[in-house]
Subunit: 198 residues, 2 copies
């Protein structure tokens, strides 16, 4: 399996985490975002959105970090990381959508502005981030994991950009339950870190 | 089953479409968005994000339109609308994520600004919409359906806000393959319309 990866990308880190936790052999191909290598015709043929991560597994190509998590968990994780029953699937999907919308348009974009100079409305991203982190914190005050009583790809999908929020100058100090959940994620076998994770 | 619904919401329409196509008995409870009924404590207990749609099915409550589609398709649709194999699941997830991110932050937000006066950067939403619709159009030039060789919840999730793009003053004229796909969706048994769909 090949992972088209960028070290500073939280979306790529979701994939790196699950590859490591499931101990899946793979080759990492670095895509230089400062050089816009994600927008070359070769890469756009892999992902029409011109983004990382992408994986290639034989003749299967998958983009979108949530879709890659779904693929890896279904193929290599049995029922553990992504269940097959309707309620379990839906509970995981709620948080995959939260990762795609609330966490991307909140803490991830604030970070993209401050670390990479992306053209973003910083105030809007930070305000949105505070609402989203507060919702997660409330939920995690009553639940050890986001979707089910065990770690799933919902936790993996929501971890990097919430844990990297301070890169976007969003304080994590108000969120005790979130901090405890970060610690539980870090304690999972196979956890790997990335720059910016405390 | 209860659907907490708003007639003008494209996210609710995704759910209305699949409920109709799968012929699932349900009760509709109208939530008045102009009166902010989606932000009452009762509704926030159903969905901490304070949004519609929400479904209640016995003691199961699910929010997020993509998660609801996953639930309904898994429980009532067999393998037809959402497959169980890793590649099929991932292909569908790519487009669920596209619905959540690209279509929401493009055509849906442009429409929300122009129809409902939401606080949105219209130029940014319209520019983003044109990129996203162009990507869909290219893909649909080579494929009859978004994710697999048959209709899936990927098509349902991406249909309302792309088909309603003109409500956000985004022209659909350049997109022939998209228009043909709209017609194929409308031809599906059980299709229902909503205000704004041509």
């Amino acid at each position: 399996m090949k992972l088209y990866d960028a070290a500073a990308s939280g979306n790529c880190h979701k994939v790196r985490l699950l590859l490591s936790m499931l101990d899946i052999a793979h080759e990492v191909i670095s895509v230089s975002l400062p050089n816009m290598a994600q927008k070359t015709p070769d890469h756009m043929a892999r992902n029409p959105l011109g983004l990382v991560p992408v994986i290639e597994d034989g003749d299967v190509t998958i983009y979108d970090s949530q879709a890659i998590l779904v693929y890896l968990a279904s193929k290599h994780g049995g029922e553990n990381w992504l269940p097959g029953d309707p309620v379990g699937r839906a509970m995981v999907q709620q948080w995959l959508s939260f990762a795609v919308n609330e966490l991307w348009h909140g803490p991830a974009l604030a970070r993209a502005k401050l670390l990479f100079g992306r053209d973003i409305d910083l105030g809007r991203a930070q305000a949105s981030a505070e609402m989203s982190l507060s919702i997660m914190n409330q939920h995690l005050g009553r639940n050890d994991r986001l979707a089910l009583g065990r770690p799933t790809i919902a936790d993996i999908a929501c971890y990097p950009y919430s844990a990297l929020a301070e890169d976007g100058e969003i304080s994590l100090a108000p969120y005790d339950a979130l901090a405890a959940w970060f610690a539980r994620i870090k304690a999972l076998p196979g956890f790997v870190t990335m720059p910016g994770l405390k």
